[in-house]
Symmetry: C2
Subunit: 287 residues, 2 copies
Amino acid sequence: MTNSNEIAFSAQSDQGMSKLTPDQYPGILLDLLDGHLADVNRNIDVVICGMAGAKQGWMEAPYLETPANLGELGKKAIAPVMPSSGLKPRILSGVCQSANGNEDVMRGEETQLLGLLDLRPGFSGIVCLPGTHSKWAKIENGALKSFTTAMTGELFELLRKHSVLRHSLTDELTGENTDDGISQGLSESVESPQLLTSKLFKTRAASLLSGRQPDWCAGYLSGLLVGSEVAGHKNWLSDEPIPLIGSAQLCSLYTKALGMVGAKTEIIDATKATLAGLSAARKQIIK
Amino acid sequence: MTNSNEIAFSAQSDQGMSKLTPDQYPGILLDLLDGHLADVNRNIDVVICGMAGAKQGWMEAPYLETPANLGELGKKAIAPVMPSSGLKPRILSGVCQSANGNEDVMRGEETQLLGLLDLRPGFSGIVCLPGTHSKWAKIENGALKSFTTAMTGELFELLRKHSVLRHSLTDELTGENTDDGISQGLSESVESPQLLTSKLFKTRAASLLSGRQPDWCAGYLSGLLVGSEVAGHKNWLSDEPIPLIGSAQLCSLYTKALGMVGAKTEIIDATKATLAGLSAARKQIIK
């Protein structure tokens, strides 16, 4: 990020917490910046969110506790040292909710929520961030009041890769058959979210008995999981449209599911929200 | 099984459908019988139930369709050939429910249900068979009217072995801490079965934030899954005690869960039910 607050360039790496030891992060960062540093000079701010701040990440950035003032994210950032690089990276906090019986944690989504507040100043209400671990967040007066995590995306991957259902599923969620499966799964599960564990096996049985194809089954399974998550959060919903922060494909799926329980959505691109959040946090950082 | 209908001996193998090709079954069977055949002479009946009759098993035994008269199980058995062994094994059918949108299959549990009818002549009502794939069955006038499958046991294993929760879990479900976790998981999930996917992640968060130990977390996860299954079947329940056919540990867990929704249970040892079912099927086989 340059001083002008415009995005000078972006770069990605598939390296993350699960693959790296703490001392490998500086090298990965320099590799990503390589070739770009000359353009923007070395006087740039590096602001980082997500699992790099986890205990098993680069350096642990303590959690903010709910209700968490998102205006404090940058101020609480920690600064790992990168001697002789000229860089002073900052890692943003995650947020935790430690009330007994209601424990929850996030790292990364708080920055997207800060980004949402930058894109929609004064926003209050419910936000849904679909993904591997979907988050549902209550935002009020610039603070993250409370949140939940649904393991929807991870469950889909576990079932697809390791369960008895794997014989009945494709890898990709595309095509007319898949859309038909999604609709069927969503409607069953929005109707009876409490029957999720009993519905899952129907994916297999429908393929054995009714000749359902793997693309239909993958859609059905995905619909069951998303429908159950959305219907489980029914009492979080109001008449206000719900911002969805995620990939285009997931946001479209959640829009369909939320439509079935009478809720409207507003789709916000996840990368855009992340960059807006990092920019906003950067302005908060005390130099 | 000898002609006297008493159990002459029993033997076990850890070999099954997932490890064997069809032509390996006869050898495994002979190995199991080795040393015993002389005692009982070779004129014995071999009756088999379960996944040996699946498409990927020894030889496919077609399903009976619901409502399935359990008195027909033996009559519909198929007979793979074992030349020069003197043995004529029979593989019993599984049961399927092929109504579109309600598809389900079982192999093995139908034999345990037949065993239940032998142990409790004239039984009608709901039966629960907890396990990797738990079954809930409606029995009426000697027939299996309809059933559902909950992937409770498989989900527990998937989450324990492959998910992000694995860092927070022990392998064994024993001890006071575990019992405490089970109670907590059961009560949350019986209260709100529709929130299962949102509750699962609390296993991880409770270990990170509240110092919950791996034995507590394993109990909690197990309680969440079983509680959700049981509460999802609330409208199956009546004042009659529900026969539970399964391992002692699982039956005790399900008794606790069913108690929370006001249902009584009667525990029936799974091996006893299987042997009673095989004996009853043997009498039905047309020679």
